[in-house]
C-alpha cells in the first residue's frame, strides 16, 4: 500500500463546450518517505496536478488517497487547509506584511505551547541565522526567501510536501546548493515530497521516482536511472536528456546498425526497430582501433566540452550523422577520421 495514491485524476478548464483537459487521467503511487519528481514541458498540466494534490482545486473525476484517508473522490473533497500537505511555491510566496518570524509561525496555532521555541528552531533547520527572524521578506535574497518558505511549510509538520518549481527562480550556482539543502532537510524530517519541475536534470538528481508528464497524462514513472536508460518511447527518451536514436535490425540479442552489432537490453526479433543510445555511451578512438569508422565534419567549442558532428559510413553502404560531446582537451579536428565504440547495451524502444 503506497502512501499517496492518485487514480484516474481529471481536471478540465474553460467554458462548457470548449473545455481543455489540463489533467487527463493520472494514476500515480508515491511511497512513504520518498521523493517524487513530476517533470514535463510547460503547459503539460504538472502545476494543475500539484494544485489538485494540494487541494486548491477540486478534481472533475478520479480519487486521491493519502495514507488510507480519502482526500478527494466522488462526492467527497477535503479543502487545502484541512490537508496535512505543505507547499513551497515558485517564488516562496512569503507574506510581505509580516516579519520572517510571523511568516514561519503563520501555520502554528497560537495556543501551541512551544510555538515561540519552534520558530528559531525551524529557521536554524533551514540553515539561516536567528537574526533573520526580525527582518521583512523584501530584505532577503531569493535563496533566503525560499529557505524561509520551506521553514514555514515545515512548521505544520506536514505529512506530504509539495515543491512547485522552488529552484527555478534562483541562479544556476545557487540552484544545486539549494536542491541539496532542501533534499537534506526533508529527508531528515522524514517528509514524503513531490517536486514539480520542467528541468529534467533537477528531477533526475532530486528524486527517487521520476514521473514524466505530457499533455495532461503521465507517460512513464520509475526510478531515475531506469527512466533515463530505459524510457518507454522516443518522447520520454528525448525529454530526459540528449538521445541518439538509430534504426536497427534486432536479432539474437544484438542490434545491427551503422555502429555495428550492439547488445540490446531486451531479447526480441525485429526487422526494423528504433534503439536508444546516450551520447556518453559512445567513445571516440583513433583511426587504427576497432569500431565503426567515421569522419568529424563539424566541431563547436563551448568551454570544457566540444560538440562534434561525425559522419558514420558503415560497410553496408548506409551513412548517418551523429552529434556527440567530447572533452575539449584532445578533441579531434574537423576532417579527422576516427573510430566509434559503444559501451553498455542499447535500449530497444517500443
Amino acid at each position: 500500500m503506497s502512501f499517496l495514491e492518485l487514480s484516474g485524476l481529471r481536471k478540465s478548464y474553460g467554458p462548457v463546450g470548449a473545455r481543455v483537459a489540463a489533467v487527463n487521467g493520472v494514476d500515480l503511487a508515491v511511497a512513504s518517505g520518498s521523493r517524487t519528481a513530476i517533470v514535463g514541458p510547460s503547459g503539460c498540466g504538472k502545476t494543475t496536478l500539484l494544485r489538485l494534490i494540494a487541494g486548491f482545486e477540486r478534481p472533475d473525476a478520479g480519487s486521491m488517497e493519502l495514507d488510507g484517508t480519502l482526500l478527494a473522490g466522488p462526492g467527497s473533497f477535503v479543502p487545502a487547509y484541512r490537508r496535512p500537505v505543505g507547499l513551497v511555491a515558485q517564488d516562496g510566496a512569503l507574506f510581505p506584511h509580516l516579519s520572517i518570524a510571523a511568516n514561519i509561525g503563520f501555520g502554528i496555532a497560537r495556543d501551541t505551547p512551544d510555538r515561540q521555541a519552534r520558530i528559531p528552531e525551524l529557521i536554524r533547520l533551514v540553515g539561516l541565522d536567528e537574526a533573520f527572524l526580525q527582518r521583512r521578506p523584501h530584505q532577503l535574497s531569493g535563496g533566503q526567501q525560499q529557505r524561509v518558505a520551506l521553514a514555514r511549510a515545515l512548521a505544520r509538520k506536514p505529512r506530504l510536501m509539495l515543491l512547485d518549481e522552488p529552484f527555478s527562480a534562483l541562479d544556476t550556482g545557487l540552484r544545486a546548493a539549494m536542491r541539496k539543502t532542501v533534499a537534506g532537510v526533508l529527508e531528515a524530517a522524514g517528509v514524503t515530497t513531490i517536486l514539480v519541475t520542467h528541468d529534467q536534470e533537477e528531477a533526475l538528481s532530486f528524486a527517487d521516482q521520476v514521473a514524466v508528464m505530457r499533455a495532461g497524462a503521465l507517460m512513464q514513472a520509475g526510478a531515475p536511472r531506469d527512466l533515463y536508460l530505459r524510457p518507454r518511447d522516443r518522447m520520454v527518451a528525448e525529454f530526459l536528456g540528449e538521445a541518439i536514436i538509430l534504426t536497427a535490425r534486432v536479432a539474437d540479442g544484438h542490434a545491427h546498425c551503422i555502429l555495428g552489432a550492439i547488445p540490446v537490453d531486451r531479447d526480441a526479433q525485429h526487422q526494423t526497430a528504433e534503439i536508444l543510445l546516450r551520447p556518453e555511451q559512445i567513445g571516440l578512438q583513433p583511426d587504427q582501433a576497432g569500431g565503426a569508422s567515421a569522419v568529424v565534419t563539424d566541431s563547436e567549442f563551448s568551454g570544457p566540452t566540444c560538440t562534434l558532428t561525425v559522419e558514420v559510413a558503415s560497410g553496408a553502404g548506409e551513412a548517418g550523422t551523429l552529434v556527440l560531446r567530447h572533452p575539449s582537451a584532445g578533441a579531434p579536428q574537423v576532417g579527422t577520421r576516427i573510430r566509434l565504440t559503444v559501451s553498455g547495451s542499447a535500449h530497444l524502444l517500443s
Binding site: 479543502p79 507547499l87 515558485q90 512569503l94 503563520f106 514555514r152 511549510a153
Partner: protein, 526 residues
C-alpha cells in the same frame, strides 16, 4: 574601440546632463515653488488672521459650546460614515473582483456610478422622498451612499493586484477561507483602505449641500451660515481654523494607520490568474445586496429627478435660463481645468524627473492644501481680495484661482502618471537635435502626456461642475452655474424647477465618472 567610444559618449552625455540639469531645474523648480506659494495663501491667511485677531478674541471664539457641538457632530459623522463605507466597499469589491457573482462587470460599474450624482443631489432626492429625514443618521446614510465609491475604487483595484500565491500558501498552512481573508487579504488592502478612507473623511469635512438638506450642522455649513450673516468676520475665520485642524488631524491619522510597511509582491515571475471563489447558495443574497445598494444610491436620485420632471412638465424647462447656466458652467469648468492643469505641469514634471527634497516638500504642501475644504479656500480669498485687492473681489480671475487651488492635486496625479510613461530619452534626444530645454520638454514629454492631462482636466471639470460653496462666495455677481441654479430653486423648495439642472449635472458627470472607472482599471494593469 567601439566600447571606448561608447563610454566616451556616455561620459559626455553625463557631463552634459550635469551642466544642463540645474538650469532646467531652476525654471521649472521656480514655477513649482511659485504655484506652491500661491497654494499656501489660504492656509497662511487663515493663520495670519488668527494671530491678528489676538489671543483673547481667538480663544473666546474657538472655545465656546457652539464649536464643541460642531466638533461632536463632525466626529460622530466621521465615526459612523467612514467605517460603514469601508465595510460596504470591501464586501462589494471582494464580490465583484474575487467571486463568480453573475454580471460582476455590470455591478462593478454600478458601484462607481453613484459618483456621477453630486452629493447634494443625493440628499435632495432622499429629502423629497422622506421629507422628515434629518440629523446625524440621515447625514451618515446619504454620505455613505454618495461617497462609498471613493473607497470601492481603490479597494477593488488592490484586490485585482493581489498575488493569489499568498492565499494558496496560507491555505496550505491550515487556514480556512475566513482566516485567510482576515489575516492575508485584508492586511494587504490596508493602503487602499487608508487612502480611500482619507478621501471620504475629507469629503465629509468639506461637504456643504448634502448636510444643509438634512439639516445637520458641520463646520462647513456653520462657516457658510456665519459668512452669510456677518460676511467675513473673525468668527467665520476661527471656525475655518478649527476645520483646518480637523483636516490635518485626518491626514496625520491616515499617515499613522498607513505605517511604513511594504505590501508589494516580494517574489518574481508572473502572478497566476485568480480563480474566482464560488458563491454557491450565497449568490442570491449577494445579488440582493448589490441590487439594494444600486437602488439606494442610484435608483433614489434617478427616481426623484424623473418624478419631479414629470410633475413639472414642460414649464420647468426654461430654456433661456438653462442655456445661460450651461454657458456659465462651461466657461468656469473649462477655465478652471485649464488653469489647474497648467499649474500642475511643473510639480508633476519635478516629481518624475527630478525627485528630491525640494520636490517632496512642495508635494507635501500641495497635498495638504488639496485636503482643505473649498469653503476655507473661498473664505481666505474673499478676505484677501476685500481687504487688499478689492478690484479682484468676485471676478472671474479670483474664482478660477480658487478652483485651481482646490483641484490642483487631481490634475497633478493624472499628469504625473502619464509623464512617468514618457521616456526621458525622448526629451534628451530633442535637446540633442537642437531644441532648447523648455522647447524640448514641450515637444516631447508634454505632448506625450496629453492623454493624462486631458483626464486630469476632465476630473477638475467634474469637481467644478459640482462645486457649490466657493462658487457661491466668489463668483462674479450674476453668475448662475447649474449647481447655483439648482441650489437656488431647491432652496425655495421648488424641487420641480430644480430637477432639470440636477438631470443635466448628472448627465454631464456620467462620462467623467466612466473615465475615472477606466483609469482605475488601467492603474491596476487591466
Amino acid at each position: 574601440m567601439q566600447a571606448s567610444a561608447d563610454s566616451t559618449l556616455i561620459a559626455a552625455s553625463a557631463s552634459r546632463r550635469r551642466r544642463t540639469a540645474p538650469s532646467r531645474l531652476s525654471w521649472i523648480g521656480l514655477a513649482a515653488v511659485l504655484v506652491t506659494l500661491l497654494a499656501l495663501i489660504p492656509l497662511g491667511f487663515i493663520l495670519w488672521v488668527t494671530v491678528q485677531t489676538g489671543w483673547e478674541t481667538a480663544t473666546a471664539l474657538i472655545f465656546r459650546p457652539r464649536v464643541g457641538e460642531l466638533l461632536v457632530n463632525t466626529l460622530l459623522l466621521e465615526v459612523l460614515a467612514v467605517p460603514a463605507c469601508a465595510v460596504l466597499s470591501v464586501a462589494l469589491a471582494w464580490l465583484t473582483e474575487r467571486s463568480d457573482l453573475p454580471g460582476a462587470r455590470l455591478w462593478a460599474w454600478l458601484c462607481v456610478a453613484p459618483l456621477a450624482v453630486p452629493a447634494f443631489i443625493h440628499s435632495y432626492a432622499w429629502v423629497s422622498i422622506v421629507p422628515g429625514l434629518n440629523g446625524l443618521s440621515a447625514g451618515a446614510l446619504v454620505s455613505v451612499l454618495a461617497y462609498f465609491p471613493f473607497l470601492y475604487l481603490p479597494v477593488s483595484a488592490a484586490l485585482r493586484r493581489l498575488d493569489p500565491a499568498l492565499e494558496d500558501a496560507a491555505a496550505a498552512l491550515g487556514h480556512g477561507p475566513w482566516s485567510v481573508f482576515f489575516r492575508v487579504v485584508l492586511p494587504q488592502l490596508r493602503l487602499a483602505l487608508c487612502g480611500g478612507a482619507l478621501l471620504v473623511g475629507l469629503h465629509l469635512l468639506a461637504e456643504y449641500g448634502l448636510f444643509v438638506f438634512v439639516r445637520f450642522d458641520t463646520f462647513t455649513t456653520a462657516i457658510v451660515d456665519q459668512f452669510q450673516s456677518t460676511f467675513n468676520g473673525p468668527a467665520a475665520n476661527m471656525l475655518a481654523g478649527v476645520l483646518i485642524a480637523c483636516c490635518f488631524a485626518l491626514l496625520a491619522l491616515e499617515m499613522l494607520a498607513r505605517g511604513d510597511e511594504r505590501y508589494a509582491r516580494v517574489g518574481f515571475g508572473a502572478a497566476r490568474r485568480l480563480v474566482p471563489a464560488s458563491l454557491g447558495r450565497a449568490t442570491w443574497p449577494c445579488l440582493l445586496l448589490f441590487a439594494l445598494v444600486a437602488l439606494l444610491s442610484l435608483g433614489v436620485p434617478f427616481y426623484t429627478i424623473a418624478r419631479w420632471l414629470l410633475a413639472g412638465g414642460l414649464q420647468v424647462w426654461r430654456l433661456d435660463e438653462i442655456s445661460a447656466a450651461l454657458g456659465h458652467t462651461t466657461v468656469l469648468a473649462l477655465g478652471g481645468a485649464l488653469l489647474a492643469t497648467l499649474a500642475a505641469i511643473p510639480m508633476a514634471w519635478l516629481s518624475i524627473r527630478a525627485p528630491g527634497r525640494l520636490q517632496r516638500v512642495l508635494e507635501g504642501c500641495n497635498y495638504m492644501v488639496g485636503a482643505l475644504p473649498g469653503v476655507v479656500v473661498a473664505l481666505a480669498l474673499v478676505t484677501l481680495t476685500v481687504r487688499y485687492l478689492l478690484p479682484l473681489y468676485q471676478t472671474l480671475a479670483t474664482i478660477l484661482v480658487a478652483y485651481m487651488l482646490m483641484f490642483l492635486p487631481r490634475a497633478i496625479i493624472s499628469l504625473r502618471a502619464s509623464i512617468a510613461q514618457a521616456p526621458v530619452e525622448l526629451e534628451q534626444a530633442a535637446m540633442n537635435l537642437g531644441r532648447k530645454p523648455l522647447d524640448a520638454l514641450w515637444s516631447t514629454t508634454i505632448r506625450l502626456s496629453a492623454p493624462g492631462a486631458a483626464a486630469g482636466m476632465a476630473l477638475v471639470a467634474l469637481g467644478i461642475l459640482n462645486e457649490l460653496t466657493a462658487t457661491q462666495m466668489l463668483a462674479p455677481n450674476g453668475t448662475r452655474t447649474l449647481a447655483l441654479a439648482f441650489w437656488a430653486y431647491s432652496g425655495e423648495i421648488d424641487y420641480a424647477a430644480a430637477a432639470p439642472y440636477a438631470l443635466i449635472m448628472v448627465a454631464a458627470s456620467l462620462p467623467l465618472t466612466w473615465l475615472l472607472y477606466v483609469q482605475s482599471k488601467k492603474m491596476a494593469g487591466q
